[in-house]
Structure formats: C-alpha cells, structure tokens
C-alpha cells in the first residue's frame, strides 16, 4: 500500500514515463486507481446540494508511518541444550510501519513446591504434577505449548520452607532435564537470600542462557549480574512503575558487564482494575523512549501477568459475578493483552486458555499489513446469529 502511494507521488509531476521491467506493475496500479479517482470526481459533480463548499479537494491517502531513530535490542534466551527463543528487536511501534521480528513469548509458571494456594481453575490443570517441578514443566510444554518455563524457587524463602540455594539449584536441574525450552529462574522475593539462590541456580544452569529473575535496587544486584556474566545468562531488571528507577537500574547493570542483549526489563504489571493504567503509561513511555533513541531503555520488556490472579474479580466466589472458572482466565488475558498492546515481549502466565488466546493475537504482530485473508463481514447485520 505504501509503495503504491509513493509511486503515485512520483508520478504526480511527471510528463513522460519510461517503463521497463515494471510495466505490469504500472498497469495494475492504473487499474486500481482510476475507478477510485473517477468515483470521487463523479460524486463531487453529482452532489446536488453543495452545502459545504469550503471543503477542498481531497488529499490522497498516505499511511501514517514514522521514522524511529532507536531500536530495541534482541535478547536470546536458551542455548546449549535449549531451543532458543528471541525477544525484542523492534524498530517501529506498529506492524504497519514494520512488523516486529519476534512474536511475543509466553512462559508458564512452575513452582518448586506444591502450591495449594493457586486458584482452582489453575490447580485443576496441574494438580497431578505439582509434586514434581520436572513433570509440571513437561506438562506446560507438551500439553499447553509453552515457549518457556519459569521456575519459581519459592521454597527457598526463609518463611516458606527455607530450602538451601543448593536445593533450589537441584530443582532447576530437574526442570532442565525434563524440558528443552529456555528457563526463567525466579527466587522467593527475599532480598537477602535471592542473590545467593540465583547464584547457585545460575551455576547449575551454566551455558543454558536462562533469565535470572530478578535484579532490583533492593538487593545485591551486583551478585546477580555477576552470576549472569560468569555463566552466560540474561538478567531481568525489575523496577516499580517508575521509568527513572528503570533507567538507573539498567545503567548499573550495564556497568557490571551486562550488555543490552543480556537485559530484559520488568517495569511492573499492575493487574486489570488494580492500577493497570499505571503500567500502561510506563510501558508506553518506556517503549517510545527506546524507539526515540534513549539507550537506557532499549531492551525488551517482561510482564508478571500472573498478578492478575490476585484480583478479587479473578478468584472471589460471588454469585452475581458469574463463575470464577471464566472470570479468572479473562482477567489474566485482559491484563496480559493490554501489556502486549503497549509493547511487552514476554509474559509470565498461569492458565492455558489465557496463554492460548494471548498468543493468537501476539502471533499476528510479526506479519505484514494486509497479507492475511480477511473474513467476509459485509453482511454481518443479517448473518450474525442471536
């Protein structure tokens, strides 16, 4: 479409054209355009009631494509015995400007301890494998098509089961054996112990290029960064809905020897109805800044979409809101989808239905504008049932 318009523009002030091997193309162009122009002229002429005479001649349609000086870095996850997955690499905001090189990726949450607290709609899919992180991961990949798996080492939490970093690393090894997708490795959220757990896990997974989750300003991010550099992993750089905090942390991590191709940002996902608009604004500003050339923010983004399950609309029994079986997945999809439409590249999720629907939309992001067959909808008024 854009090429056509450009050509047309070139032809505008041309008196003679020498046509060589492009002859056919030009014929096609002419065929497309002439009826459109004729129609417009005819309509203008036959408009009897020329009410709004001040309306001037129509300018031609031109897709609003912008130039972006910046580019989002591409991050490879998975190496060695893993099938690699690539994140980021965007050079434009929208598909009609330039499709993104890599589709959004989903990583399924897996835990190192059985999680009786998970909402029922999720437990019902995984209750048979919750005793074994390896089996859990396998099911996520084989049955639900996970691109990746997130191993949450919740059990290492001092107030949870206080497992040692070594035990955490063993759980990671088990999952590495069970599946060949790349891994995100998460700890328990304890600022003192997390760096030690991630360090042990990073060593156990040396050369497999996992994403260590996470480095943030409240813990010893240097240790996490070093574990990544020493063992060839990437790092999740987590800030709390604050673009400046994100920039600062990214700069610190770059100083520790990580490159743009080793960092994924988590600007924090607030769930639908629980501050999602803050996340929308932060993600939008972050991605726009990256494309405009802010090198501190030119990394792919991640969303902890699972946060959606904490919303009471997702889990609370309440007759007048309908069954939680449906509310939960929708809450997770809408939260993730909203983040995806604002530039997020990788999603940590829990429910198979949510994952499926998110990916269906995300997979279209890598295709060119108007290259898909459009469904016939012109008679929807009479054809729609119900």
């Amino acid at each position: 479409m854009d090429k056509m318009t450009q050509l047309l523009k070139l032809l505008e002030n041309t008196k003679s054209i020498e046509i060589n091997e492009f002859r056919m193309d030009f014929d096609e162009l002419e065929l497309h355009l002439m009826p459109a122009i004729q129609q417009a002229v005819q309509k203008a002429v036959t408009t009897e009631k020329a009410i709004a005479t001040e309306i001037m001649a129509m300018e031609e349609f031109k897709p609003p494509i912008q130039d972006y000086p910046g580019k989002v870095a591409e991050v490879q996850l998975g190496k060695g015995s893993r099938t690699p997955v690539y994140l980021g690499g965007q050079q434009a905001l929208y598909r009609f400007e330039e499709p993104q090189p890599n589709p959004p990726v989903v990583t399924f949450d897996v835990f190192d301890i059985p999680m009786p607290g998970l909402p029922r709609p999720i437990r019902e899919h995984f209750s048979d494998v919750m005793e074994s992180p390896g089996e859990w991961a396998k099911k996520a990949v084989k049955e639900f098509g996970a691109n990746m798996v997130t191993m949450h080492l919740i059990g290492t939490g001092p107030k949870v089961m206080d497992k040692t970093p070594r035990e955490g690393a063993q759980a990671v090894e088990e999952v590495l054996q069970a599946v060949d997708v790349p891994l995100v490795i998460g700890a328990s959220g304890d600022p003192v112990k997390d760096p030690l757990v991630l360090e042990a896990a990073a060593e156990a997974a040396q050369g497999e290029r996992c994403l260590l989750a996470s480095a943030n300003l409240d813990l010893d991010y240097r240790k996490v960064a070093k574990a990544a550099v020493d063992n060839d992993h990437a790092v999740l750089s987590w800030s709390i809905t604050d673009v400046n905090m994100q920039k600062t942390l990214n700069r610190y991590l770059l100083k520790e020897g990580l490159t743009h191709n080793d960092i994924v940002m988590d600007p924090t996902t607030c769930a639908l109805g629980y501050g999602i608009e803050f996340s929308i604004d932060i993600m939008t500003r972050t991605r726009l800044a990256a494309l405009k050339g802010d090198t501190d923010l030119q990394m792919p983004m991640s969303s902890g979409t699972t946060n959606a399950w904490g919303s009471r609309e997702a889990w609370m029994k309440k007759e007048e809101w309908g069954p939680t079986d449906y509310r939960g997945p929708i809450w997770e999809i809408v939260t993730g989808l909203t983040m995806m439409l604002n530039g997020v590249d990788i999603f940590m999720m829990l429910h198979p239905t949510s994952v499926k629907l998110l990916r269906e939309i995300g997979d279209t992001f890598v295709k060119d504008y108007m290259t898909t067959e459009l469904p016939e909808i012109s008679d929807w008024i009479t054809q729609l049932e119900g």
């Binding site: 009631k49 129509m58 500003r285 898909t372 459009l374 469904p375 929807w380």
Partner: protein, 457 residues
C-alpha cells in the same frame, strides 16, 4: 498541539462582562482550555467569531452525540494518542445488539438485561451505554416495528441496516431521537447519506478493510455537509486481528497527528463479529469476544458493539474501560487519616491500610457490607497500594508511628494493638519498634476482615 488559554483569549470579546459566570474573559479562556466550561455561555460573540472559536477548540477527534436529552451519550473528543500525555475523553460507549427477528418476550428480556447490567467499582457504578438494533430479518416493517419498541428504552439507539428503505421506515419512528445510523457503505452511499442529512442524525461509514476508500467516502459525506460521522474500518478477528488493529491505529494517528480532516471522527468496532460463522462453544465465544473488546478498547475504539451479555464477560470490559479513562492528572488517592465504621468504643479494633483510592474503597466496601465496627487508619502512601508502597518504601514503621500521633487514635482507644494487611507482614516488626504498638498481621484480602474481627475479638 493543544490550545493555550492565550490563544482562546485573543478571540474572546475581552469585555469581562462575567455573564458566563467567570470573573473575566481570561478566566473563561483558562476554563475553556481545560474543557471545564462551554463556549456557548459567552453571549457577546458574533456568529463568525463563535465559529472561529469553535474551530480553535475542536478536539482532534470530533465529539459525536448519540441520542437526545437525558439519553444522550458522547463519543470521540480525544486529543492525544497516549493517555499519559493528557487524558482520554468520553469513555468508549459499550453497546449490545438486539435483532428484529426475536420473539416479543425474548426481545423484552434482552433489553431488560442490557438496561440492568451494572457493576460497582471504587465507588462508581459502571453500566452499558446504548442498544444496537439489527435488521437481521432484512424486512423494513419488522425493523421499524422493533425500533418503535425501543422508544421507551433508557438507552440511545444504533440502527443497523444497510437497506435505505428499512432505515427510512425506522427513522420515521425514532428519527427524532438522534440515533446513530449504521450505516453508509459504498453500495448504498447516496440514499443512506441523504437519510442522515434529512433526519440530522449521526451516521456510521462502514468500509471494511480499505482505508483508501474510507477516506474517499468520508470526504464525500463531508461534502454533503455531514459533520457527525463515525468510522467503521471493519472488525476482522482471528488471524486478521492484526489488520484490524493496524487500521484502527492508522485512523487515530491520522486524526490526531496529521489532522487529516477525513479521519477526525470516532471509530466503531464490533467484537460481536467474533461470533460470525463461529462454531466454538458459547463460553469460548464469550471469552474471545471480551478479548477482542479489550484489544479494541486499548487501541482506540470509541464505540463497541457486543453480542454477549454474560456478566462475567462484561465485568472485565467495564473495568478496563474505567481504568483507561481515569484522568492521569488526578492522583488516585483519598485523604489520609482516621476513618470510623459502625459503633465504636475504647476497645474497638484498629486497622491499617493505604490511601490508594482503589485500596481504600475496597476496604471500605468490605467493612460496610460485613457490618464491621472498627477504626481504620489510612496511611498516605502517595496513592499507592499496599504491596507497591511496601516495595516503594512509603509504607514503613516511622510513617505508621507518625500517623498514630497525628490522628490522636491513642486518645480514642485503650488498646495498643493494630491489625495490618497480610501483604504488609514484612514491616510488622518495624511498626512495633517505631510505634510501641502490638502489630497483628491480618488477612491478605480485606473481604476476610469482618469475619476475622468477629473471630479474633
């Protein structure tokens, strides 16, 4: 891009007559620039001066009114592509369709369901906005008969028929109520557009999958003097959702950044089309329809037609709309301090929460519905939720100790025991050290608080 008060002031009469209710023309100009007053309140302007100001104040996307009187709703009116730049105006209208082939009882039932759909969130009642009547029968008289039944509905109408004859018959019945006509196409252009002119109603231009043609036809509608136009570039789902998104984004960008006159109109999307020729089960269809609605809400639909009425499908859509359209310029916080619930005495329990509006209203709702009697300390966390303010450091021992002092709670109760949110557990020790109070970690979700209070006390 946006108009300053000074730009407006130059075109005002500068008489400071105060008939508009403002002390001076400058004050009036300031209010106008913030969209907080109406230009019509100025009585000193000649017609051409008024016109010049109207043009200056016109938003990038035209604001279109559907319906009349207390039924009227406004769509469009946006100035920016990203909400953080200013705010979005006029929340996307959510419309549910009914068709003219339904049995009388079924028809009534569906209209009632649409009118009664509501969901309360953070002190705001969220509802649907309009009804779309679909000429499924293809019959003009049936369409008109169904339209007349909707005259009493509390919502404005979208009349969906591509047949000018059916549209004319329906407009004869409800044309004085300013329904949105859907729609003009390439095939019915002259006749349908003439009806919009005759009845002075807003009109939708339906040109699926071809923005070039859409521009051409929009231009032709404008040449007929029509101003209240709504654009439907086609809602394609499945693999083609990417093209739908591209078209929506392009239209909005052309309107806002390029001020392309032919695209400066609200966009209409139809998530209901997910159900077209779709043999999936009903639950899957409803989940997917909500997904499409959420997609188009995010990327620039100003009005959406849905078919599903299940409350669990509508709640997430209503919630997303509320979130997108909150004004980022206003902090979402309530006043910090001491709040009282139920009947209190010196032994009443003391709870703690943060001043994020959503957090506060959720806790308030739970305490009220559970008929709890308790004091509630609300900490100023600059409008952040419990977990966020914990991570951000606003929720800490010293801040809570200060709050205890400032509110004088120690004069109201004998006890020195505070129940904090489950999510705030990591700072329980810190609060005890700084305040000298005993701290008990309560439930993670405030819905469990009333029961907790009954059991614990």
């Amino acid at each position: 891009m946006s108009v300053t008060a000074m730009d407006i002031y130059r075109l005002l009469p500068k008489t400071n007559c105060a008939k508009c209710g403002e002390a001076s023309c400058m004050a009036f100009a300031t209010k106008l620039s913030e969209k907080e007053t109406d230009l019509e309140l100025c009585t000193e302007l000649a017609a051409n001066e008024m016109q010049a100001l109207e043009n200056l104040l016109a938003p990038a996307v035209r604001e279109v009114i559907i319906g009349k009187g207390d039924k009227a709703i406004a769509i469009g009116g946006d100035e920016v592509l990203y909400r953080y730049e200013l705010t979005y105006y006029n929340p996307t209208a959510l419309v549910i369709d009914v068709n003219d082939e339904m049995e009388a009882a079924e028809f009534e039932e569906r209209v009632k369901t649409i009118e009664n759909t509501e969901f309360e969130r953070t002190g705001e009642l969220l509802t649907l906005d309009a009804i779309a009547l679909r000429n499924k029968s293809g019959d003009a008289d049936k369409f008109a008969a169904a339209a007349s039944k909707l005259k009493e509905s509390k919502y404005p109408l979208v009349l969906c028929s591509l047949d000018p004859l059916a549209m004319k018959k329906a407009l004869e019945v409800v044309g004085d109520e300013n329904p949105l006509i859907y729609g003009v196409t390439e095939n019915n252009f002259e006749d349908m557009a003439d009806l919009a002119v005759e009845y002075q109603c807003p009109v939708t231009l339906f040109v699926p999958g071809d923005l070039e043609k859409m521009k051409e036809l929009s231009h032709a509608l404008r040449a007929k003097g029509l101003k209240d136009i709504v654009l439907d570039p086609g809602t394609f789902v499945g693999d083609a959702i990417g093209d739908t998104l591209d078209n929506f984004v392009m239209i909005k960008r052309l309107a806002i950044e390029e001020r392309d006159e032919d695209f400066r109109f609200p966009i209409l999307g139809i998530p209901a089309l997910l159900r077209l020729n779709n043999d999936e089960d009903e639950v899957t269809k409803s989940i997917k329809e909500a997904t499409i609605a959420a997609t188009l809400l995010n990327k620039y639909a100003d009005i959406l037609i849905l078919n599903g009425t299940e409350i669990w499908e509508i709640i997430p859509v209503l919630t997303l709309r509320q979130s997108l359209y909150t004004d980022p310029r206003k902090p979402q916080a309530v006043d910090a301090g001491l709040y009282e619930f139920g009947e209190l005495d010196e032994n009443s329990p003391v709870l703690l929460t943060t001043n994020f509006a959503l957090t506060y209203y959720t806790v308030e709702g739970d305490l009220k519905s559970g008929k709890a009697s308790t004091y509630l300390l609300v900490l100023d966390t600059v409008g952040r939720a419990v977990d966020v303010s914990l991570a951000g450091g606003q929720l800490n021992g010293k801040a809570v100790a200060d709050l205890i002092k400032e509110t004088g709670i120690e004069d109201k109760v004998k006890t020195r025991k505070m129940i904090i949110p489950g999510l705030a557990a990591p700072v329980s020790g810190e609060i005890e050290d700084d305040s000298g109070w005993e701290v008990v970690v309560g439930p993670r979700d405030s819905s469990a608080v009333p029961d907790y209070l009954t059991k614990e006390l």
